[in-house]
Subunit: 520 residues, 2 copies
C-alpha cells in the first residue's frame, strides 16, 4: 500500500453499453449527483461525440458544483491521417467543458493494422497528438490503453511504446484496459508491474468480467501498484459487464486498507438507487449489498452467528449499509423467531408460551409448503396474529373466477367477482384481467379502494409461482410469492394451496394487510 | 500445471442453502444425471442425516449406474464426547451407500471452543475418529476443513493440526474451505501453498463469493497446487453463493490448460437446465453462458468483431455452447435444429428453406417467452408441424374453468368443461379437481380416453410454473413446464400465456400429442 487509490466510475458511459441499460439525461444527472455525494473521484459522463443525450448531460453538468468528483468526458484519439485540431470528435471533447478528459487509443498491432488500417507509427502519432492537444487546452488527460493485456501477450514492445507515447505527450494517467475481459489475475498483476517499472509511475486499471474475475483482476493490478480503478455500479457493461465498483470499493477500503474517503454505509443505497433508475432488478446475491448477502438459513449457522457473528460473516453488514437477515426455513428454531420479533419491536422471551405457539404454527405451515424466507411480511403478520394483534381489514364472503377459452381467442373471457364486508359495508365487485389472478387482484382493489384509498400506492413488483411436490402433476400444491412496493419500501408475502388462485389470493391479501398495518 | 484437477459439485447440498433454491428428489436425480453426463467427477447429493428428501435421493442414486461421477454423501464429524459408531448422523452416512463420503470438521479454535464448546484436543479426536471409521467401512473419504483461511490467520499451528489429523487418519483428500467467502486471492494462494508443503500432498479448495472473488480464489488455490475445486452450478449457495463451477470449469480447461475431460460445448445447456429445475431466472450477464455474454451492442465493436472475433471475444462462444448475438441475425441456431432433427430421424440440409422456417418460428416463440431447453417434446412437435407432419389429435371447440371460493372451503367448487371434436365425434365432458388446471386435465382425459385408451398410461411427473417478466405483477406472462412419463420414457412440454390456465393447457395437449405421435 504505497500510493493512494482513486475510483473512476464509468456507469454513465461504459455501463450503458450493457444489454437493457439506458439512462435519460435526467437519470444521468441524478446518478452523477449520488456518486459525487458518495465520494467517487471521477465520473465519466458519456461520449459527447456519440449521441445528443451525452452532450446534454455535459451542458447540464457544467452548470453544477461537484463536491468530490471530477466530471470526465470520454472520446477517442484523433482519426488517422487527420490533424487533431480538425477532428470534430476531439473538438466535442473540449466543448464538453469538463476538467478531465479520457481518450482511448489502440494498443494491439493486430487491431491497429487489420481493423483500423493505419500504420503502427501513425497510431503512435494519433495518441501523442491527441494527448498533447488536450493538455495544451488545459485538461487533465487520462489515456485508456485498449486491449493492453491481449496486446502485451503478442507484442510487449509495441504495447509499451503506445503508453510511453501517451505519457511523454503529457498524459496525467495511463490506464491499462483489459478490454476483452478474459485475462486471469496473475497475468494482470504481472503486466501491470512491468508497465509501472517501464513508465516509472503508477497506472490505472479498467477491467471487464468475461472470465468471472473482473474484480479480482482490478485488485491484482492495485497490488502491483495501480492507483486508479475504473468500473461501474453493479457491474453494468457490455457482454457480462465491467468491473463492479460496488464490490471493489469495500474490498479496497475494508480489506486492503486503502482509505478511499468513501461513505460505505451508503453503499447499498447507492447500488439500489442506480438499479432503480436503470430499471434493473436487484441481484439478491450481489456481494456486500444483495438482500441475501448476510442471510442465514441453516439452524446451525444461525446459532453460530448469534454467538459470534464473524463465524459466518466476512464483514459487519452495517459497514456497507446492509443488514443481517435470519430466514425462516425448515431448519429454524426459536432463535430465528426471537430475532425477527426483535426487529419488529416486539420483545419475546425464549421458551415463553407465545414463542412455542408461534414456532409450532411455523412448523405446521412449513410442512404445508409455506416458506417464509422471501416473505418476511407474511411472517410478521403470522407473529402479530399469534400475539392477538388485529391485522385483518375485511371479511371474505366469496370470490369467484371464471375463464372461457376458444381457439382464436376472440371470445376469450376471464373475470372475477369479489364479495366482502369491509368497515361495516358489503362490497360486491367484478373485473376482468389477463388471467384469473389478475382479474381477482383488480376486483379486490376495486372493493377496497373506497375504504383505503392509500392502497393505490401499492404496486406488485414481482409475482412468482412455485409448484411444490411437483410429482403430483396438476394436483400439486402451489406456492405463490408476491413482492409489493409502495415506492419506498418493499415487502414479500406468500400463499399456499393446491389451487393457484387461492394461493395467489392469500399472498395478495397479506400484502395489503401488511401495508395497512404498517401505515398504522 | 503439475497435478490433474477434479471437479466436485455441491449444487444439491451447499447449493440448496441458497435463498429460494430447493429441489425435489426427482429434480435432484435429474440434476445428478446431467452432471454425470457432462463429466463432473464428484456429485455431492445431500446430507442424509438432515432431511428425508436427501435420504430418498441416496436410495434412488444407489439403484443407478453412474458413468463418470462418484456420488458423495455429506455429513459432519462425530459429535463431541460420543463414540463414532454410536453417532446416528455418521451411521446415516454409511447407510447412504455412496462410494465417497465428505465430512466437515472444525478448524478455527474460536469456533471450536466458543460455539461448539468442545476442547481443541477433543476436536482433533472427532476428526480422526470419523475419518478412520469411514475408511474402515470402505469409503473414499474427503475431509472439509471449515473456516480454514480465517482460522489460519489467527492460529496457523492448530489449523494445520486439524488437517494433519484428517490425513493421518486416512483421508483421501483434505479440502480447504473458505467458509466466510471474504478472503482475497493472494491469501488463499499463500495458505494453500503452505498446507500442501506441510502435508506433502495436494488439497482441494472450496470457496464462497462474499467478496466477489470466489472464482478467483479457487483459481489461486489451483495455481498453488490444489487438485480439486468444489462449487455449484450457477454459483447457488448461502448468502451470495458458492464458487460458480460454470465459470471455473472453462477457466481451467480453456485458459489454464487443465484437461478436465468435460464436454464444455454443453456448458450453457447445463447452466440453463439447472436454473429451470431450480426455478431461477437465467442471469443474462453470467460469464461464458449468459445471453449477453457474447452480445455486441456498440456499432464499432460489431464491426471489429465481424472483422476479427478475438478483438472483443475472450473465447469462441461455440466452445461453451453459447453464441454470438449481434443485431444482424445470421445463421445462428441452425446447428441446434439440425442436431435435433437428426435425433428425430429427419434429415435436413443446412440453409434449406425448411430450416429457415423452423428457425424463424423458434426465434418468434422465444421472444414470446418459450424456452425449449427442458421441453424437448414441444420442440420436436414444433419441427414436425413445420414439416407438415400430422400431429394433432383433436379440434378444440371450447374449454371453461370456474372456481368459487368461500372461507371455510366447505362450499368450494372448482370445475372444468371441455368441448372437442375427436375422430369425427363431438365430446363434451366435465370434471372437478384440486385447482382449475387439475380439473381441466381430468376433463380432457375423460374426453380422449374412449378414443385413445393408452393415454391412461401417461402420468404427469412434474409441473412447474414460471413467471417471466415478473415485474408486470399478476398480469405477467406465465411459462408452464410439464414433465410426463409412460412408465418407461419421460418427456417435457411447454406452454406460454398471460393466463396460467391457457399456458398449462398448451403443455398438457403437447404432452398427449407427443405420446400418441411417438406411439405411431
Amino acid at each position: 500500500m504505497s500510493v493512494p487509490v482513486t475510483i473512476y466510475d464509468t456507469t454513465l458511459r461504459d455501463g450503458t453499453q450493457g444489454t437493457g441499460i439506458s439512462f435519460s439525461t435526467l437519470d444521468k444527472i441524478r446518478v452523477a449527483e449520488r456518486l459525487d455525494d458518495f465520494g467517487v473521484h471521477y465520473i465519466e459522463g458519456g461520449w459527447p461525440g456519440s449521441n445528443p443525450k451525452d452532450a446534454a448531460f455535459f451542458q447540464e453538468a457544467a452548470k453544477r458544483t461537484w463536491k468530490n468528483a471530477k466530471i470526465t468526458a470520454f472520446g477517442m484519439t484523433r482519426r488517422g491521417k487527420m490533424k487533431v485540431e480538425e477532428d470534430p470528435q476531439v473538438q466535442m471533447l473540449l466543448d464538453a467543458q469538463t476538467p478531465a478528459v479520457t481518450i482511448v487509443g489502440k494498443t494491439w498491432p493486430l487491431h491497429v493494422t487489420e481493423v483500423f488500417q493505419v500504420s503502427l507509427e501513425e497510431n503512435l502519432a494519433m495518441i501523442a497528438d491527441t494527448v498533447a492537444y488536450l493538455k495544451k487546452n488545459g485538461r487533465e488527460v487520462l489515456y485508456d490503453a485498449e486491449h493492453f493485456f491481449d496486446s502485451f501477450r503478442e507484442d510487449p514492445e509495441y504495447s509499451l511504446k503506445t503508453v510511453k507515447a501517451a505519457k511523454d505527450a503529457g498524459a496525467d494517467l495511463v490506464v491499462l484496459c483489459e478490454t476483452n475481459g478474459g485475462a486471469l489475475p496473475e497475468w494482470v498483476e504481472e503486466v501491470t508491474r512491468k508497465v509501472i517499472t517501464h513508465l516509472g509511475c503508477p497506472v490505472g486499471i479498467h477491467t471487464h468480467n468475461d472470465g468471472g474475475v473482473g474484480v479480482a483482476n482490478a485488485l491484482a493490478a492495485v497490488r502491483a501498484g495501480a492507483n486508479q480503478v475504473q468500473g461501474t455500479i453493479n457491474g453494468y457493461g457490455e457482454r457480462v459487464g465491467n468491473c463492479n465498483l460496488i464490490t471493489v470499493m469495500p474490498n479496497l477500503q475494508l480489506k486492503m486498507g486503502y482509505n478511499l474517503g468513501l461513505d460505505l454505509t451508503r453503499l447499498r443505497d447507492l447500488a439500489f438507487f442506480v438499479d432503480e433508475l436503470a430499471n434493473v432488478p436487484h441481484d439478491i446475491r450481489a456481494p456486500y449489498v444483495g438482500i441475501a448477502a448476510f442471510t442465514h438459513k441453516g439452524g446451525l449457522h444461525v446459532h453460530a452467528v448469534q454467538k459470534l457473528a464473524r463465524t459466518y460473516e466476512h464483514v459487519d453488514p452495517s459497514l456497507v449499509g446492509n443488514e443481517r437477515v435470519i430466514t425462516i426455513s425448515d431448519m429454524s428454531g426459536q432463535s430465528n423467531i426471537l430475532m425477527k420479533a426483535e426487529t419488529m419491536g416486539v420483545a419475546l422471551a425464549k421458551g415463553s408460551p407465545e414463542v412455542q405457539k408461534i414456532l409450532s404454527t411455523v412448523k405446521h405451515l412449513e410442512s404445508e409448503g409455506f416458506e417464509f424466507e422471501a416473505a418476511e411480511a407474511s411472517f410478521e403478520l403470522l407473529i402479530r396474529r399469534q400475539l392477538g394483534q388485529q391485522t385483518q381489514i375485511f371479511d371474505l364472503i366469496e370470490y369467484h373466477t371464471t375463464h372461457r377459452h376458444h381457439p382464436g381467442a376472440s371470445l376469450e373471457t376471464t373475470e372475477a367477482t369479489v364479495k366482502i364486508h369491509v368497515n361495516g359495508n358489503a362490497e360486491y365487485t367484478v373485473d376482468e384481467g389477463d388471467g384469473p389472478v389478475n382479474a381477482l387482484d383488480k376486483a379486490l382493489r376495486k372493493a377496497l379502494l373506497p375504504h383505503f384509498p392509500e392502497i393505490a400506492r401499492v404496486r406488485l413488483e414481482d409475482y412468482k409461482v412455485r409448484i411444490i411436490d411437483s410429482g403430483s402433476g396438476t394436483a400439486a400444491k402451489t406456492r405463490v410469492l408476491v413482492v409489493s412496493s409502495d415506492g419506498t419500501r418493499t415487502w414479500g408475502t406468500v400463499g399456499v394451496s393446491t389451487n393457484v388462485i387461492d394461493a395467489s389470493w392469500q399472498a395478495l391479501v397479506d400484502s395489503l394487510e401488511f401495508f395497512l398495518f404498517r401505515r398504522g
